[in-house]
């Protein structure tokens, strides 16, 4: 055994060295997760602007479509952002799936283990697995939709989508739950995995729960706000392609284009 000893400095380093790939992939998994979690926080704040006013939400939408830079909206800019996020999402999913149970037997073993152990972090990880698995489909669908039809964002369009226009009423509530659970648990697990920040697990765990509750509440309220609008859109008393009245006045001739053409509120 002592013949196989690896000591780089003692002239025994001649054998092929191990690939650095696992190291980089581990790092990339964490970084991609971090990016997605932070993106989702930002995303949540942007969509939650609806709670302030429809106008603010519209403004944010137009901001991402480049309206304030070019004087005109280019929804494909949103597609670009969605594309980047989707790419990170695919990378993250591909890296994370390596750690998933590879067959039903492994899943069973893991579930039995978590049940026996009654261990918080182990159970949390199972939540990660379940929500991650769900998001393969849910998040993919959402990203695809946003990538192909980036113009479907706005107070009216979003309200319509969330009130089941394309994917069913259940879609956004379930996606919200998955995203927030996966994201907040993920961030907690990142912190304990790397010991950055080097804080006690008790504190980090509390922080994680607080953030989870905050974003779930914010998400729920936001969702309800959109759904309300969605009901109005369906009833025809809310303009799908909503445009703030001030903007309407200024640009009555050259208003932003839309698929459905313009409908005046209250018409």
């Amino acid at each position: 055994m002592s013949n196989n000893t690896v000591i780089a400095q003692v002239g025994l380093a001649e054998r092929p060295r191990k690939s650095r790939l696992p190291a980089r992939l581990d790092l990339l998994q964490s970084l991609s997760g971090l990016f997605l979690a932070l993106f989702m926080w930002g995303h949540m704040f942007f969509v939650a602007t609806i709670l302030v006013s429809e106008d603010l939400m519209w403004t944010v939408t137009k901001f991402f479509e480049g309206y304030y830079f070019f004087g005109q909206s280019y929804p494909w800019l949103v597609s670009v952002i969605v594309g980047i996020v989707a790419l990170v999402f695919i990378i993250h999913a591909a890296l994370a799936v390596r750690k998933f149970p590879i067959n039903f037997r492994q899943l069973q073993v893991m579930r039995a283990h978590a049940k026996e152990m009654r261990h918080h972090d182990t159970s949390l990880w199972l939540v990660q697995v379940y929500t991650g698995f769900a998001m393969f489909f849910l998040a993919s669908a959402h990203l695809y939709q946003m990538f192909v039809w980036p113009e479907l964002i706005g107070p009216g369009f979003s309200g319509d989508r969330m009130w089941g226009a394309y994917l069913g009423f259940w879609f956004y509530p379930v996606l919200l739950l998955c995203v927030e659970l996966h994201g907040s648990i993920g961030l907690y697990r990142l912190a304990v995995k790397w010991c950055i920040p080097n804080m006690s697990r008790e504190f980090l765990s509390k922080l994680e729960k607080a953030l989870l509750v905050f974003f779930l509440l914010l998400g729920a309220v936001t969702l309800i706000a959109y759904m309300k609008i969605g009901i109005h859109v369906k009833a025809g008393d809310f303009q799908k392609d909503y445009t703030p009245s001030s903007v309407m006045m200024e640009h009555s001739k050259a208003a932003p284009t839309s698929m459905d053409g313009m409908l005046v509120k209250g018409e």
């Binding site: 650095r20 696992p22 283990h113 152990m117 261990h119 304990v192």
Partner: protein, 261 residues
């Protein structure tokens, strides 16, 4: 003397109302052809200060001489007696029955090769891990001049090394590890802790690149999913979370100057 009275009386009082404990023990002897795993029940009367060591010994000596389990030091030092106690790994010799309900389930540690009943072959696993990770100090000198004074070492560093050296290889961390449950080749916290300990030790001449050879893959530090079952069940309360994170940070960004590709 009032203290004396109290103690003496409490000792006497407890004898009159001892609980009856029901043990549910996972029995299976792979040496016996056709034997099937089953939960067998035993009832014994609880005694003051009864540990699982005393209880299981009593069962073996008075009720079932075939019951297999491993105890050595029975003082929490040797790490022989880790088993699943009500589902969680722990040292049976240190587990007092009075801290448990009247129904106690005891099962062998998972992951390790089962010898029979509660006895598992942790020794074989640990030896394999030691050989694989080369868990000894690698020095450049072959000969030590034993007449000479020893090399000096900073007292704080010596203490830090001892802190990690306290591992008793009981296998609790491996049994509590979700990764180890799913991937049998995972080195476990016990192995990672050993590398962290050797990495601290200036007497070990290996570099980070050398340690990467041992644990730089998904059966090593990058396989760890940070479920931290290890950290939470370790009977010696070793700082496994921080040690594994420390190795991960060191090795995740390590350069590869000598990689052949």
């Amino acid at each position: 003397m009032s203290e004396a009275q109290k103690t003496v009386q409490s000792g006497g009082a407890q004898q009159t109302r001892n609980r009856t404990l029901t043990f549910h023990i996972l029995r299976y002897n792979p040496q016996v052809p056709g034997d099937k795993p089953r939960l067998q029940q035993y009832q014994i009367e609880e005694a003051e200060g009864m540990t699982l060591f005393l209880a299981l010994t009593e069962i073996r000596e008075h009720q079932d001489p075939t019951l297999q389990f491993d105890f050595v030091c029975r003082a929490g030092i040797c790490g022989s007696c880790s088993m699943l106690i009500n589902g969680r790994p722990g040292l049976a010799c240190r587990s007092l029955t009075k801290n448990m309900g009247t129904d106690i389930t005891v099962a062998p540690l998972p992951v390790f090769e089962l010898i029979g009943d509660l006895s598992v072959n942790t020794g074989k696993w640990m030896r394999g891990m030691s050989e694989r990770l080369e868990t000894w100090v690698h020095t450049q000198e072959k000969e030590i001049n034993l007449s000479k004074k020893e090399e000096v070492m900073d007292p704080d560093l010596a203490e830090k090394i001892y802190e990690l050296d306290r591992c008793v290889e009981c296998g609790s961390c491996v049994a509590a590890c979700g990764t180890a449950q799913m991937r049998r080749d995972f080195v476990g916290a016990v192995g990672l802790n050993k590398i962290a300990r050797l990495k601290l030790d200036p007497r070990d001449n290996r570099t980070d690149a050398d340690f990467y050879e041992l644990i730089g893959d998904d059966n090593g530090v990058f396989g760890c999913m940070s479920l931290l079952g290890c950290h939470d069940v370790c009977p010696k309360e070793l700082p496994l979370q921080t040690q594994i994170a420390f190795l991960r940070r060191k090795l995740a960004t390590i350069e590869c100057t000598e990689c052949n590709k």
